[in-house]
């Protein structure tokens, strides 16, 4: 049984606007890594927020772990597109927020937070406040915050878009390790086709007005995937294929 299912899901923000999403059908299996691609403004964030229980569908049903989703579940951790930090807390304190909401963090928690922060390359910056951080550093704080929770389901909205190639590669490894270790089900929005291919079991293409799942594209490279996979010709071919597919879909839509 899939861990996440969407049936005929539609979402309309205001009655006077056309729906943003309509007729969304989506099944995601436990432990699966699904990337969502789509043009800017197509409705990716909206879909992810629906999956996270942050928005409620206007039509249709979303089930997570067999239960109908009405508000966020404990098993789900959501990484927002724009890094959201509390200005009055430093990096470490920001990372500890979700834990604090569950229980008083103990020394172990703090040690683990340091580890995660170090994994995202912020070891030197734990005591900085948000206004002292660069854009990419802010994103990485929110990533550390998510990783620390070792979630069952991880929803990430363009988490690496503010990062340079090197840092991004490092974090790919961190993410893959984590999802492997906890067999985390991951839904991942990105604009980076190579990244989507490298990380995913399946790529979902969103498009149309209102947006729906235009195409699903399975990626079958075996796991664990090494960094070298990206230089593999099969990998490059797959990426190209995906790229062409997207371009084709886009051309259809031209007005």
């Amino acid at each position: 049984m899939p861990i996440i299912t969407c049936r005929d899901v539609a979402l309309q923000f205001t009655n006077d606007q056309t729906p943003v999403l309509d007729q969304i059908q989506l099944d995601i299996q436990e432990g699966e890594f699904v990337s969502i691609l789509g043009k800017s403004g197509s409705g990716k964030t909206t879909l992810l927020q629906l999956l996270g229980g942050l928005l409620s569908p206007t039509k249709g049903v979303i089930k997570v772990l067999g239960r109908t989703l009405t508000s966020p579940f404990d098993e789900i951790t959501y990484v927002f597109q724009k890094p959201i930090l509390l200005e009055w807390r430093n990096v470490l304190e920001n990372v500890l927020i979700p834990l604090e909401l569950k229980r008083k963090p103990n020394q172990d928690d703090i040690d683990k937070a340091y580890q995660v922060l170090s994994a995202v390359g912020l070891k030197q910056h734990v005591t900085k406040y948000p206004h002292e951080l660069s854009g990419g550093m802010m994103s990485r704080v929110t990533l550390a915050r998510a990783f620390l929770m070792e979630p069952k389901i991880l929803l990430m909205d363009e988490p690496f878009s503010a990062l340079d190639a090197m840092t991004k590669e490092q974090l790919h490894l961190v993410l893959l390790k984590l999802t492997q270790q906890f067999s985390t089900t991951t839904v991942f929005i990105t604009h980076d086709i190579t990244e989507a291919t490298y990380l995913s079991d399946r790529v979902v293409l969103l498009g149309g007005y209102p947006a729906h799942v235009k195409q699903e594209f399975p990626v079958t490279f075996s796991r664990p995937r090494s960094k070298k996979l990206t230089f593999d010709s099969r990998f490059i071919a797959t990426t190209k294929q995906l790229y062409d597919l997207i371009e084709g879909l886009e051309d259809d839509e031209k007005d």
């Binding site: 508000s71 966020p72 604090e100 909401l101």
Partner: protein, 247 residues
């Protein structure tokens, strides 16, 4: 070294005092209508030396602190409650507006009647007067959290209480301090007005007494004491705010 603007400030002050003194002397304005600054200075000095002011300052301080404390607890507390629970908000809404709109100082004569004489009615009045700006600023502050942060806390399944303490409260802090500044100054006014109604002691009682004696000079001295008191309390709030921001 002193800042240039500080020097201007002081010069302005000296200039105002000098102009005042000259006008009073040249126009021979009666001291009942406008005493000269020199006379006020002398009066202040004399009464401080004789210890005349101290019990009055003490009495007003007790009322101000007591009332401010009670008013702050209720104002901020009820602000939290109302920000927290939609039901409470909707039920109490008309009462809160009414209680805010009511000219509480005009209630003073009745409160004195109901609560008897002594500190109680004065503390009640000061508390009532402080309540409103604190309540208002607490509610405003607590509801000015960005959608994004609320979404984050929603996604983290924070309870209402957790959102209140870990998100809304820190956001509301500058608003609450702004309310405290208003309240602390109003609390002095409240104490004085309540002492007008009937008090043996206190700076407000002294104003009434000075009026009875036609001693406008003394009245000005008391104003100056009250203003100083207000400034000290105001700066105290600023200082506590700075302290909080540092933590």
């Amino acid at each position: 070294m002193m800042k240039r603007t500080n020097i201007y400030s002081i010069l302005l002050f000296v200039g105002i005092l000098a102009a005042w003194e000259i006008v009073v002397r040249v126009k021979e304005i009666s001291k009942i209508i406008l005493p000269a600054p020199s006379a006020i200075g002398a009066n202040l000095f004399q009464h401080f030396q004789s210890g005349y002011f101290y019990p009055h300052i003490l009495a007003t301080s007790i009322e101000v602190f007591g009332g401010f404390f009670v008013g702050a607890i209720f104002g901020i507390g009820l602000g939290f409650l109302v920000a927290q629970s939609k039901t409470v908000r909707e039920i109490l809404q008309p009462y809160i507006i009414a209680s805010q709109a009511m000219p509480k100082l005009a209630l003073a004569p009745l409160l004195v009647l109901w609560f008897g004489f002594g500190y109680t009615p004065k503390i009640v009045i000061v508390a009532l007067v402080c309540f409103f700006p604190l309540f208002e600023s607490t509610v405003t502050g607590l509801s000015h959290v960005s959608r994004e942060k609320l979404a984050l806390f929603h996604s983290l399944r924070a309870t209402r209480t957790q959102t209140l303490w870990k998100l809304r409260f820190p956001t509301a802090m500058p608003y609450i301090f702004s309310g405290l500044r208003v309240a602390v100054v109003l609390s002095v006014v409240g104490a004085v007005i309540s002492e007008f109604i009937g008090a043996n002691k206190g700076l407000g009682a002294l104003i009434i007494a000075s009026q009875g004696m036609m001693d406008t000079t003394l009245m000005f001295s008391v104003f100056i004491l009250l203003t100083l008191k207000g400034i000290i309390l105001y700066q105290l709030v600023n200082w506590i705010e700075a302290l909080f921001l540092k933590i």
